[in-house]
Structures are given as structure tokens and as C-alpha cells.
Amino acid sequence: MGLPDASGDLSSEMEVDAFRRLFPLRYFERHLSESIRPDARPLGRARDTTLALGAVASAHGSALAKIGSTTMLAAIKMEVMTPFNRVTGRRLHWPAEAAPVISKQLSDTISSSGMINLKELSLVSGKAAWMAYLDIYCLDADGALFDAALLSAVAAFSHLQIPIVSLNDDGKIELISEEDDGAKLEVEPVNKEKRKLTLSSIPFSLTCILHKNYILADPTAEEESIMETAVTVVLDSSSRLVSFYKPGGPVLAHTSAVQDCVALTRQRVKELQNILDETLSGMEID
């Protein structure tokens, strides 16, 4: 920032694109002072968000979440195991240093939100239970990775269809294939009723960038790289705070800024809940 004045003078003659590359912060601040962002969004607006359920047929539940061009593919595979206190394994696949951090945050958020009732994953009490493997792949990274990852995970869990199994003579759990379903079932399925998980209090999140007095909701990768202070708020569907992350950064958040972030998240949770509900009801009509 050695040449703030010089850049100000130059900017009138310089090409917009060159200005954006050479003085990214000034470029952004000019937009912010007009309460607009370079992609024409107001400061508090999140990017267009879409969900597609059942993107991968080989998994028991899957969802593709898109926030702007950030794309996450989450899929769940169910396997049988002997009961154990922890029931979900989560892995995030993204070839970068951010992956373990997001993976840990996601794991904490899902388990502390109480979204999944682990008792529902039990098959034969004390003998057999489901292990749900949740794997998330980042197909395209353009900011707000945690938000997209959580959205895809939540959507994959709501799409999850638990396979029907039965106990065979040796006391082992056996999978019943879909085609045999119905007439010629010699063995009684163990879990005919419980094919879907009841998700209570679904968590949704919003990441905001703090810069000076501005709060930018749902940042792009470019915005994240220029303005480094991010705050991620996770609220559940009844607006209770699940997690709050502010991993350092040069900007110290005032309590008022924190309140503003929570207020923005509350709005966003409603949006996301609607998107999820619409996607799910769209599935049922088919």
C-alpha cells in the first residue's frame, strides 16, 4: 500500500481490469463505498444457490450443492458395523490445506447440532448398527467452502435412503436387493420402517467477510484472498446458534458486527431452508 495516492490518480486512465489486478483492495473499496460488489451483488446478498439430490446413483444418499460457482458433491454410503459411540465418519476431499480445517468444523457442527439421532442408526440393539460414511468432494472452489460443504452434507442426509437388510441364519446382516423387494421375500427385513432419517434442527451456515465497517456475505475466492477476516455463523432451523468461527484475521469484530453477521445468517437460513424444502418436494413429485 505504498502508493495509495498514485493509484488513485492512475485509476482514471488505467484499464479497469489492470486496476483490479494491480490494486485489488482499492478496487474493492471503491465498490464497497457505493454499497455494491464487483459481481453486482449488494453487500449482504448471497450468491445464487442450487441443490440437486441423487446426483450419484451408486451412493445411498447424495447431493450436489452450488453456491455461485463453488460446487460440492456430498455422498453417503452405509455400512454395517458393531455398535460404537461415534457413528459417522466424515472426509473432505480437496487438494489444499483448507480441507482438514473445514472437515473438522463440519464434523463438529454436524455432531453438535443434534441433527442426526444416532439411535436411528441402530439395527439390532447392541449387535449391529449403521456406519454412515459421508464424503464430500469439492469440484469447484470459489469461496465460502464451508457453507457449500455443510449445505451439501445436510442435503445428502435428507436424501439418504437406508438400504433394507435382513438377519440371515448365521446371525449376520444381509442386504436385500431392490428387485427382490416385495413378493418373494423369504426373510423378514429388520428395518422395513426406518428407511429415512428424521432430521431434527438442520444446521445452515453463512460466511461473512469483515473489512473496515463493511460486512460482505458469502464471499467469492477473490474477496476471501483480498480481505482476510472471515466469520462463519452456523444456526439451526429454529435460529439457535450451533457454531461460531472467527479464525483470527486483521479485523477485530465489534459485538455489533457479530450481531449483524448473526442477523444476516438468520435471513440466509430461511433462504436455504426454502431451497432444501423445494428440492425435496420436487423429488417427491417424481
Partner: protein
């Protein structure tokens, strides 16, 4: 499976019980049998291609052929790592990976370790490596769902992604495979058919040049069958290349508007 995830408890999956049955097919007779998806023996699955699936990459493509779904991102050309020797020509770095949920049994996709080198070998000949000296182009392929004939789909999709990234090539590379089941030749086999095959043949070629970049043959083949299979593959490749070319043209005309 037990070793997965360090201290994770051991789990097990059973394949659905009907998987153990042989398909309705008799190796030494001419009895007609149907393919499980209702295709003719010499009929490919409908192919779908789209470029520009990943914004953060220099070029990308998504391909879908039946249940097989593949996404390929191309990065670069960028400066080769310092440790590398000086090179007048560009380098190509390929990586093929499977998602853990791509196969019916979780994590089986990691068995296809040779696919990365095979993708490299199939593309190498088609790229004008002299056009980007001292630099490296990275090709990352991710198989989202494996439904059979994965490698030819990956190779076709990767050549499309390279074209999308503006890497100079002699021609697009299209791939196709044929499985030999008894006396019958079936093109573009699905996973189930691949598991029962007696032999398989894969050709990747540059249809405009009529040049083959890769040819792999495994299993038991008679010369007559082999000739027929090669012709089948080459025909399929040239048809596939037309679809790929029209996908590129569409993307180019869309970006002009």
C-alpha cells in the same frame, strides 16, 4: 476395509444377493440374450459432454456415458517445478482418481492405479508439447460414478478439457472399448458386463488423422474377433469425436454471443 481411517471400527458391506448369479448368457451357444440395459451388442450408451464445468480451472469438461460420470479439470501451462530438468518441450501430468462412493463397494475405485499413466500415454501423442516449453500442464480426472468403460470415457473427456483450456492438439482423442463374451462382441460394456468378460480391447484414437494413440488388449481373442472389435472401436471413436466436436462448437458459439 478394516485398515480404513486408522482406528475406525471395522465394517462390512454385502453385495446384493443377486450379484452372484451369472447373467442369462451361454458362452458356447448362439442363443440371443439381451443386455441388461436393453442395448444392441454394437450399440454405445448415449454420450453427453459439456465443457467449462469448473470455473477455477483453465479448462474443464464433464462427461456422462450411461451411469459413468467423469469430471476433468486442466490447470496450466505453468512453470515446471524447479527440481525438474530443463526441457524444450512441455510436460503433461495426469491423475485419475475415483470418489469413494463411485463403486458399489466403498473404496474399490482405488484399485485402478494404472489409469493415471494410461491417460498420460493416451494423450501425450495428441498434444503439441513443443507449444509450451519449460512448463507443465496438469490434468486431473475424477470419476464421480463408475458404470463401466471408465477409462475410455476419462480419456475422451480429458482431451475435451484440454481443448477447452486452449492447449494445442493435433486432434481430439476419442476412446472406446469392446468386451468379448464367448463368441459375442459387445461395445461400451457396463461394469456388470466387464466383470464377466473373457477379453477386452480398448482403442483411443485421433479420428481425423486416423491414428491410434493407445491400444490395449487383454484376455483371449481370435484374430477374426480382434479385427472386428478394432473396426467396431474405430467406428465408435469417429462417431464420438463428432459429438465432442459439436460440444466444443456449441461452447464457442455460446461464448461469442
Amino acid at each position: 476395509m478394516a485398515s480404513k481411517g486408522g482406528a475406525a471400527p471395522s465394517t462390512y458391506t454385502h453385495a446384493p444377493t443377486n450379484k452372484t448369479r451369472r447373467p442369462p448368457f451361454f458362452p458356447d451357444s448362439d442363443v440371443d440374450w439381451l443386455r441388461s440395459d436393453g442395448r444392441g451388442f454394437h450399440q454405445c450408451r448415449p454420450a453427453f459432454f459439456r465443457t467449462g464445468a469448473v470455473n477455477s480451472a483453465a479448462g474443464s469438461a464433464y462427461a456422462e456415458s450411461g451411469k459413468t460420470k467423469v469430471i476433468v479439470s486442466v490447470f496450466g501451462p505453468k512453470e515446471s517445478k524447479k527440481a525438474m530438468m530443463y526441457s524444450d518441450t512441455g510436460r503433461l501430468n495426469c491423475n485419475v482418481s475415483y470418489t469413494t462412493f463411485a463403486t458399489t463397494v466403498r473404496g474399490h475405485g482405488s484399485e485402478n492405479k494404472e489409469f493415471s499413466t494410461m491417460l498420460h500415454k493416451a494423450l501425450e501423442g495428441a498434444i503439441v508439447l513443443e507449444s509450451f516449453p519449460k512448463t507443465t500442464v496438469d490434468v486431473f480426472a475424477l470419476v464421480l460414478e463408475s458404470g463401466g468403460s471408465d477409462l475410455p470415457v476419462v480419456i475422451s473427456c480429458a482431451s475435451l478439457a484440454l481443448a477447452d483450456a486452449g492447449i494445442t492438439m493435433y486432434d481430439l482423442v476419442a476412446g472406446a472399448s469392446v468386451s468379448c463374451l464367448g463368441r459375442n462382441l459387445i461395445i461400451d460394456p457396463i461394469s456388470e458386463e466387464e466383470s464377466f468378460q473373457d477379453g477386452s480391447l480398448m482403442i483411443t484414437c485421433m479420428p481425423c488423422h486416423y491414428e491410434v494413440t493407445q491400444l490395449t488388449i487383454t484376455g483371449k481373442w481370435s484374430t477374426a474377433n480382434l479385427n472386428e472389435a478394432m473396426q467396431l472401436c474405430l467406428d465408435a471413436c469417429s462417431k464420438l469425436a463428432k459429438i465432442m466436436r459439436s460440444c466444443l462448437k456449441e461452447a464457442a458459439s455460446a461464448s461469442k454471443d
